[in-house]
């Protein structure tokens, strides 16, 4: 009874700040005690902190049942300058709580998984001392993500936005001394950071524009202003939303800023699962959904958002087909799926976008974690057969796998569930969420629909290809032949995520629309999309055909060690393009990085060093100064200043020479002078 009263009174809202405080508490504990008290302690503290945050999120969820309009909980005055007033406040509404639940829930499972995974990883990489550091970064990430989603204004959101970017950078480069040439991972982290910075620049400009137009950055005030004056200010809102879109393309890895995400796979696999698949990369989608009133007014930008998402979805899907690294396939798949969400929010289907965001978080986290499980299983096998010959071995290359179905049973089943969910087969979560996007796109924008449907087809194909290459056929390396299953601390979170991937679709079943009703309290203009049998049937049909294709290519005939990809023969140069990611990195290298480096070199070498330093400083300023001093010393000082002194002396001397003759020494001359003087004075008195 008491509990019910508390729930209905909204008393749980008061606990909302804990959702940020708990992960911070966890990371502080681990900073102080983590290394001393061992791996078990560090892992339990970090996981426990996030699990408690998840409990807090559930409490918020319960409180929102009674007060679905949500609350804003002020914590502190933050910035107060003139008319600018930005409080540090937590916004608990249905949208932010959806994200809180998803992020903390998935994070808890991934934290638990990481206890087992990192135990192996730090030993495999040869530095067990970094175990606690990993969990410190992980907790920091969760705290930053909570700031991002619970923000009550754009600036606070930006703090979280930068915080997750920082954690992403730290964790991509977690093994910073490893990778290609010993700096590969560090370079990948830097690439992610720099690329994100371009997006962050867009976010900043958008904030300035919004503040300039509205005079506030608080969501409520901005959206209120948009309601009142939006139609009269479509221009500035369009520009601001364009910059918001730039921010979202950076964070959510959309065209043209997606290039950092595949390289981000350099981080440990739990990082890929948590940050680069489930949570951080969805921040862009969340931000656009949060800014829905702005995008409702700026229809042209919204349209652009939809096209960016759709093109990214298809583009990334084609690349995923041609990859051999198990994590890279998933990375491009993530970009592709983020494109789906982007397209959804672009066409105004915010609920569909958020639905797919949550469902995708479940099955993509599952896929990444399973991939991590596969990689470690193969590494075990590699260690088992290795006898010190130290031959380089790539445990992530799918060409080195095969036949793992029998050796890693749990991993196989959960991977299959994740893959089928991603492929969009009913009744898994991916089917409902993707279908809702497709149905919306079918109604709103046919071009976007066609692109997305093609991407969905490719999605089913490359997931079928991956499953068949990894788990079916015969082992194509000794390591794969000796792969072993991982301990329960890793497989139990996988099973939990698999359950979520199966039942996640229940969030927003057609006809029931729980999530739609839930989000309708926060986002206006939501609409429950009718279940379109034709669209759903078509996408299922496409998915099945694609999986059939993949079986024809990869399943029917067993691939042997060293066999080329059968698709290479069929597609020829197109496959080379897919395999090489359509040379986007090379294109950017050619179009942007090289000119940029050349310009930097030009500025540094020619302009700064040769022109400014050598020529201007040394030649112009230096010689001007030297010549000036020389002139002052030899000409001005010697001739003018000394000339004045000497001239005065000479004049005095010359005058004295002339005057000395007056001094005759004869007394009578002086007497005469006195007489003349006396006569003159008297004459003056008498006649003057």
């Amino acid at each position: 009874m008491v509990l019910l009263e508390v729930v209905q009174g909204g008393g749980f809202f008061a606990y909302a700040p804990l959702i940020i405080a708990l992960p911070i508490l966890g990371l502080i504990t681990n900073i102080i005690f983590g290394r001393r008290l061992g791996e078990r302690f560090a892992g339990i503290v970090a996981s426990g902190a996030v699990a408690l945050a998840f409990v807090i999120a559930i409490l918020q969820f319960l409180a929102l049942q009674a007060h679905p309009e949500g609350v804003t909980i002020p914590i502190a005055e933050w910035i107060s300058v003139g008319s600018l007033s930005i409080p540090w406040a937590i916004k608990v509404d249905t949208l932010s709580t959806t994200m809180m639940l998803m992020v903390t829930g998935v994070s808890t499972l991934i934290h638990i998984y990481a206890i087992g995974y990192m135990h192996e990883d730090v030993r495999f990489q040869g530095d067990p001392g970094r175990y606690a550091r990993f969990f410190i970064f992980f907790n920091l990430f969760v705290a930053a993500m909570m700031v991002l989603v619970s923000a009550d204004n754009y600036l606070m959101m930006f703090v979280g936005w930068e915080g997750v970017g920082l954690c992403s950078y730290l964790l991509i480069g977690f093994w910073y001394e490893k990778g290609e040439d010993g700096i590969g991972n560090a370079v990948a982290g830097k690439k992610a950071f720099v690329t994100n910075r371009i997006g962050d620049f867009g976010f900043l400009i958008a904030m300035f524009l919004i503040f300039g137009a509205v005079g506030s950055l608080q969501f409520d005030q901005v959206f209120h202003w948009v309601h009142e004056h939006g139609l009269a200010n479509v221009g500035v809102i369009s520009v601001a939303t364009l910059f918001l879109l730039l921010g979202a393309t950076g964070k959510s890895a959309q065209l043209p800023l997606f290039v950092w995400l595949p390289d981000a796979m350099a981080g440990p696999t739990p990082v890929s699962a948590l940050i680069h698949a489930a949570t951080m990369v969805t921040a862009g989608i969340y931000m656009i959904a949060r800014s829905a009133p702005l995008f409702e007014v700026a229809q042209s930008t919204a349209n652009l958002v939809a096209w960016v998402g759709a093109v990214t979805a298809l583009f990334a899907a084609t690349i995923a087909v041609g990859q051999f690294d198990i994590k890279r396939v998933l990375a491009y798949s993530t970009i592709s799926q983020l494109g789906f969400m982007m397209a959804a929010v672009g066409i105004g289907a915010y609920v569909a976008g958020m639905f797919h965001l949550v469902a995708h978080a479940f099955f993509k986290a599952l896929l990444f974690l399973s991939a991590g499980s596969v990689i470690q299983g193969v590494e075990h096998g590699h260690h088992h057969i290795e006898h010190g010959d130290g031959e380089p071995f790539e445990p992530q290359d799918m060409r080195n796998m095969g036949g793992l179905r029998s050796r890693m049973k749990v991993t196989y089943w959960v991977y299959l569930i994740g893959a089928l969910a991603l492929a969009g087969l009913p009744p898994l979560a991916g089917f409902f969420s993707k279908d809702e996007i497709l149905a919306d796109a079918n109604m709103e924008n046919m071009g976007v629909y066609i692109l997305l449907a093609a991407a969905a087809f490719l999605t089913a194909f490359y997931m079928g290809r991956q499953i068949l290459m990894v788990f079916f056929g015969k082992a194509r390396s000794e390591a794969a032949a000796h792969a072993t299953e991982n301990p329960p601390v890793m497989t139990i979170p996988l099973m939990a995520l698999a359950a979520l991937a199966i039942f996640g679709g229940a969030l927003n079943l057609p006809g029931v629309h729980k999530l739609t009703d839930w989000l309708a309290h926060t986002i206006e203009h939501v609409h429950a999309t009718e279940f379109n049998v034709l669209v759903a049937g078509l996408s299922v049909l496409f998915a099945l055909i694609a999986i059939g294709f993949s079986w024809l290519l990869y399943g029917r005939k067993t691939m042997k060690e060293g066999d080329p990809d059968p698709l290479r023969k069929i597609l020829g140069p197109i496959f080379v393009g897919m395999e090489n990611k359509w040379w986007v990195d090379e294109l950017y290298d050619f179009l942007i990085i090289r000119p940029y480096v050349a310009i930097s070199w030009f500025l540094a070498d020619v302009v700064d060093w040769r022109f400014w330093h050598d020529w201007f400083h040394d030649s112009v300023l230096g010689s001007a100064y030297r010549n000036g001093s020389r002139w002052l010393a030899w000409v001005f000082d010697l001739r003018v200043i000394d000339g004045i002194g000497n001239g005065l002396g000479n004049i005095t001397s010359w005058g004295s020479q002339r005057l000395r003759v007056l001094q005759t020494g004869y007394v009578r001359n002086y007497a005469l002078a006195v007489l003349v003087g006396g006569v003159l004075v008297l004459s003056y008195f008498i006649f003057g």
Binding site: L659, V667, R668, L675
Partner: protein, 105 residues
């Protein structure tokens, strides 16, 4: 006996002019000295003449007193001047003033 002051003043002027000429043209230091005394006494004469002519009765002695002062000054001047001449003579063996021209520039 009442001599008009113009006569006295004329005499005084002649005496002064003689003294000036004596100072300017003579080279003997003693003679120059005597010429200076002549000029002083011509001035005394002029003072007496003015005192008699212009002064009111109760101030009639003022010019006379002045003359006594001048005589006293002249006497002391003679004492100093003669001492100087003696000193010059001792070093130069001459009292020709043109011989004493070591201040010539």
């Amino acid at each position: 006996m009442n001599i008009p002051p113009a006569y006295v003043l004329t005499l005084s002027g002649i005496l002064f002019a003689l003294g000036v000429i004596g100072v300017l043209i003579r080279r003997n230091a003693i003679v120059i000295f005597m010429s200076i005394e002549l000029m002083l006494n011509s001035a005394n004469l002029a003072l007496i003449a003015f005192a008699r002519t212009f002064a009111p009765a109760q101030e009639a002695l003022r010019g006379h007193v002045f003359v006594f002062f001048v005589i006293a000054v002249a006497a002391s001047e003679v004492a100093v001047g003669l001492a100087l001449i003696v000193a010059i003579f001792r070093s130069k063996e001459s009292i020709d003033v043109d011989e004493v021209s070591s201040l010539r520039g």
